[in-house]
Symmetry: C2
Subunit: 444 residues, 2 copies
């Protein structure tokens, strides 16, 4: 009755410590390769965890079985029952001597792209045929590591008494002024896809939730079409009551170190497949002030940066290289940004309000996270909304939460894809998303 008997083991679980020599097992997966040498035929079966060699010697086995094996079409789905023979010379330390090969679904041919790694496909080809691309060990490895990273992030937050939340993606108001939004027709009204859970997680601080995190999709209608932008991405968002920006920077750097540690421990074979030699970043991360960053850039670049400018790509690289050369580390913070170039909810310093209690966490080549202590005083918040040219009326549902007991609080948001990308040294952010959405791509 159950299909569970189509497989007793993953290929990687057939090991001398788990299986006896000669034991009958059933493997299920894809026909990775068929090598027909006349008197002997090798079928390489591939599943999520690895590959196994199925060996058929013409003289020793049933003719029909041998012929069936020779005729197997690559990438067809099969289930093979046979005896395990541990054999040091075989690719995975064993071969399977089959009693039965069951073809569950025949693949068409030619394939839309190569799966053996012999031909390197362009990213667009790979994304067009993502279902085949995902069968490559390198692609699977990225998503196993992404999975483990998010698992470890949740584990870390749970340990520190955070509540995971889910806030709406369909909203009536933009979070911030700057970013473009995707409009939705919500019954007879106009609504938008949310670009950040920012306003909601702050409301939850007023709601007494104390420490929250959210991991979910965000949507940005930016026209950017670069190797590090997505229009739909996964954001890791955090908000903490009775905390300032230094508290949440500490939380963040320790989180990064924690996740790297877990990935090194739990994703050994995936890191190996990718050839990544991961090192846990040293904490605490270096903190450079915005003013120090200007000095570094202006001492190294022809094009000068002025106070009040945002960091450009060249600036990010310059400072990142400087930090790496002087400390040997890739992660660092830029703190004390000008209030005017940070979102309205960033808290200005009391004694020098042109600077804000805000930070970016950087990796050598790009920004990973932005955060700040937030404004919790309603009158100041309203002023800041106005002075950024926004209309406070659109923020009524948000401002109301500040008028009846909002605690001081701080938080940050970090892009999941950039985090994975910088961890693995991935060239393009699209490689860290199963089905990326960008300016041009809406399918698959």
């Amino acid at each position: 009755m159950s299909l569970a008997n189509l497989r007793t083991h993953y290929t990687a679980d057939v090991r001398p410590d788990k299986v006896e020599n000669g034991q009958k097992v059933t493997l299920a997966g894809w026909v990775h390769e068929v090598r027909d040498l006349g008197g002997i035929c090798f079928v390489v079966l591939r599943d999520r965890e690895g590959k196994a060699q199925v060996t058929l010697v013409k003289k020793k086995i049933d003719k029909d079985l041998f012929d069936a094996a020779r005729r197997l079409v690559r990438e067809s789905v099969i289930s093979v029952t046979g005896s395990v023979k541990f054999e040091e010379k075989a690719p995975n330390g064993y071969e399977l001597l089959p009693d039965e090969i069951n073809v569950l679904n025949v693949s068409g041919s030619p394939l839309p792209m190569d799966t053996t790694g012999k031909v390197e496909a362009e990213l667009d080809t790979r994304l067009d045929s993502r279902f085949i691309d995902l069968r490559r060990a390198e692609t699977t490895a990225v998503f196993k590591i992404r999975h483990e990273s998010l698992r470890a992030i949740r584990e870390y937050f749970v340990k520190y008494n955070f509540i995971e939340t889910a806030t709406p993606k369909v909203v009536a108001t933009a979070t911030e002024g700057g970013t473009a939004l995707f409009p939705i027709t919500y019954f007879d009204r106009e609504a938008f896809l949310n670009q950040s859970p920012q306003l909601f997680k702050q409301i939850l601080m007023s709601g007494g939730f104390d420490r929250v995190f959210e991991i979910g999709p965000i949507f940005r209608a930016e026209e950017h079409d670069t190797r590090r932008h997505l229009n739909e991405a996964t954001s890791i968002d955090v908000e903490v009551s009775f905390a300032d920006h230094f508290d949440v920077m500490e939380l963040l750097e320790n989180l990064v170190a924690y996740v790297y540690t877990r990935v090194i421990e739990n994703c050994k074979s995936s890191l190996e497949v990718l050839g990544v030699d991961l090192k846990v970043p040293k904490t605490p991360f270096l903190k450079l002030t915005y003013d120090e960053v200007i000095e570094i850039i202006n001492s190294r670049c022809e094009e000068k940066m002025h106070w009040g400018d945002d960091l450009g790509t060249l600036g990010e690289h310059t400072v990142g290289d400087h930090v790496y050369e002087t400390t040997g580390e890739s992660h660092y913070f830029i703190i004390d940004w000008p209030t005017e170039i940070k979102p309205f909810y960033a808290m200005p310093y009391e004694d020098r309000p042109e600077f804000s209690k805000s930070f970016d966490m950087m990796h050598r080549t790009m920004e990973l996270s932005s955060g700040a202590q937030r404004i919790h005083i309603p009158s100041l918040l309203k002023n800041r909304i106005e002075s950024q040219g926004l209309n406070p009326d659109g923020f009524e549902f948000y401002l109301k939460a500040f008028e009846f007991g909002m605690p001081p609080h701080a938080g940050w948001g970090m892009g999941c894809e950039r985090f994975v990308m910088t961890m693995l040294g991935t060239e393009n952010i699209r490689d860290t998303v199963l089905f990326p959405r960008d300016r041009r791509r809406l399918s698959p």
Copy 2:
């Protein structure tokens, strides 16, 4: 420098096994109540984990401190440093004798709604002022349990080698014919909000991911405005290769039992606040066939159900009551549904194709989950799409994944909110969502 010194303990962590009598602690939270009896004043401080009584005896303390305490405005945010005095008669087993009360943010008044539980507010009032409603212990308890449920669900799947995935919410094609979709303007094109990760998780089976789960938002533009429908909800989705519907039903019933067990263990005080006496459902759940369900309904109801009809609300209640009366259990499966009333991807039985290998998991009063073994044969799938009046051209990106080695697979989707709702006996599904989205509500 750090705001962390605004609090050393949560109110619930001041206990004889953790804190010494007379020890100095700092609590932070909201002014829940001020009782000024002339010579003595009690301030009840509330945080996420509970309440603490701050006791001020006029004769014994500084006059300014006493006066400040008397004048505290309800729901203002304060931080109080003082000595712990364990005292059996005090509400939480201790009182705090304050040295210092620090007002961090003064609340306006009158409050938009009551927080003491003395006045029962309507749901709409509570949702309009959700930031205040969330301060009620009953509301917080629901979201702590929701958090623990999702944590336990992830723990369970990780144990069984599942990979957590994130698939796009912005899509070009509807998943199924029936449900209405919210249209988006995606740059210069029309797109939709995804109503289910169904097609993507199936593509991932072709991609060799073997076992995946996804917990994320789904969007349904249904006009329904009932106490058990939402237009934005959280869906728990699962897909398993080399498995049939019986395999994934077993996975599902064991998951339900696992989560109930974890909630009972880890959410004692939240269950107490809600007055819920949770029992772990017995596994395996009863399986009724669709034909048996018709018999039960027709033997009990005046309005007859015919073969090919879907279950109405009355039918669901009738069968749910029947199951509860005969077994004492609330959960059960309805299996073997007519192929024509299930989505196109449900696998028909080979020997009686008018029935499908599909199931619903029911709770006494409503459907919680739908699942099936899926069709993995491309020609059959194309036929089924056509016979449901849909155009296969719109599904090209999906059908392609079946033509080059799709394994047999099965899966299900379960609504997170309905799961929590039935666990806690919540009257309205909106009580299980922080900021619900429905036909009328788009804010906060």
